[in-house]
Amino acid sequence: MNGTPGRLIVLEGIDRSGRSTHAGLLEAHLRYHGRGVTRTSLGSSVLSADALRRAKRGRRPDPVEIALLSAADLAERVERVVDPALRAGLVVVADRWTWTPIARAELRGVDRGWLDRLFSFAPAPDLVALLDLDPDASLARRDAPDPYEAGLDLHLADDLRESYRLFGTRLAGWFDAESRRRGWLRVPADEPVDRVEARLEAAVDRLTGVPGRRRGRSRSRAT
């Protein structure tokens, strides 16, 4: 628990694993049951989003600079959106949190201890769900991958899609180890959307007490 009346739910997973689809479905589900919801997603800050895009597209992207800009992006959203919402008792659904930028930097050789300190300002989530998707399936679901997200700067392969597949495999391995260590909820993302949705909703309901609280409220109103 993060020490506030609110709840922080994080969806992590590689590209095209359905994070934003399921963030939207979770928001609708929670709102239907009367909970206030705020959503936030990686790279959506006012101050850092453009600089982050430029840094990733540079000729020689610097993973330390990109980690610092990712932290600036998250810090702005934590201070303007997430912290106030949690204090007000809302549920915050975050499309990625500290782990995606940490993974991208650590896989490029940046020290993990330094990255953990850098992101230490971020509140701890109440629930992290990893949408498990095979890199090949991710590749099949998308057109041209972003060169930085494909790890092209690591010179794993000359071909963009092949690089994406190889880097995606490393990323999947990183998330696999991290999720085991931290006991995250893992949901196979290649199942039909409603099956994935049901599993996420069950976990979120246990955390937020959503339908139970609603029944309780209507009972007390009836008496």
Partner: protein, 236 residues
Amino acid sequence: MESGRGPRVRIIRSVPTRPIRRPGLLVAVEGIDGAGTSAVANLLARWIERRGRRVHVAAWEASTPLRRAAADGRTRQALTPRVAALLVAAEAHRRTDELVRRPIDAGDVVIADRYAWTGVARDLARGLDPAWIASLYERLPAPAVVVLVREQPDRAIGRAIDDRLGPGRAEAVTPAFGAFLAAVAAGLDDLAAGRSPAPWPARTVVLDLGEPLDVRLAPARAAISAALDGGEGRVA
């Protein structure tokens, strides 16, 4: 050793000679706005050049993203101390790669006209956690010598305002800016005295007021001399 008529040395095998590659060196000159860091950096640069080394002076301009953000009403609100600290540190890393790391890798000397301590001291003045701030800069190349140029904040402010707004405009300064500069000066003193965590250990020389600049530079020259001769300051 033998004394003889001719050379008694016989070449056993020839060793291919390589040009002697001297390690690069980074010197950081720190101080608040108007303290005179540029004058010190340029004097030190000329002195090192006379010793036969190629020198670059790199000016710290990491506040560019902050000025841009503060000028825009939409972005000003989002500019909290933590976001500002991270944006400035990111900009410092971006610029350092070209202006510091590459010349040092080529064996040159770089004098940074203000460097990480300035960033750290500004963030300290904004009230952030000292250890966290120091860690933002620890991935930058570490200077062999840090020269802290000290100046009374009120005198420095007068000079900084003259530089920015033109002479005689000191009345335009808000008290908040004066208080901020005084807090930055205190932060730099804390770093020099080891009271506040620095991004890396570095030999520190504090240049105090009073003496003519040329005399004041003597301890800085001595420290840089030692670093140049001892081959210190190789950047990891």
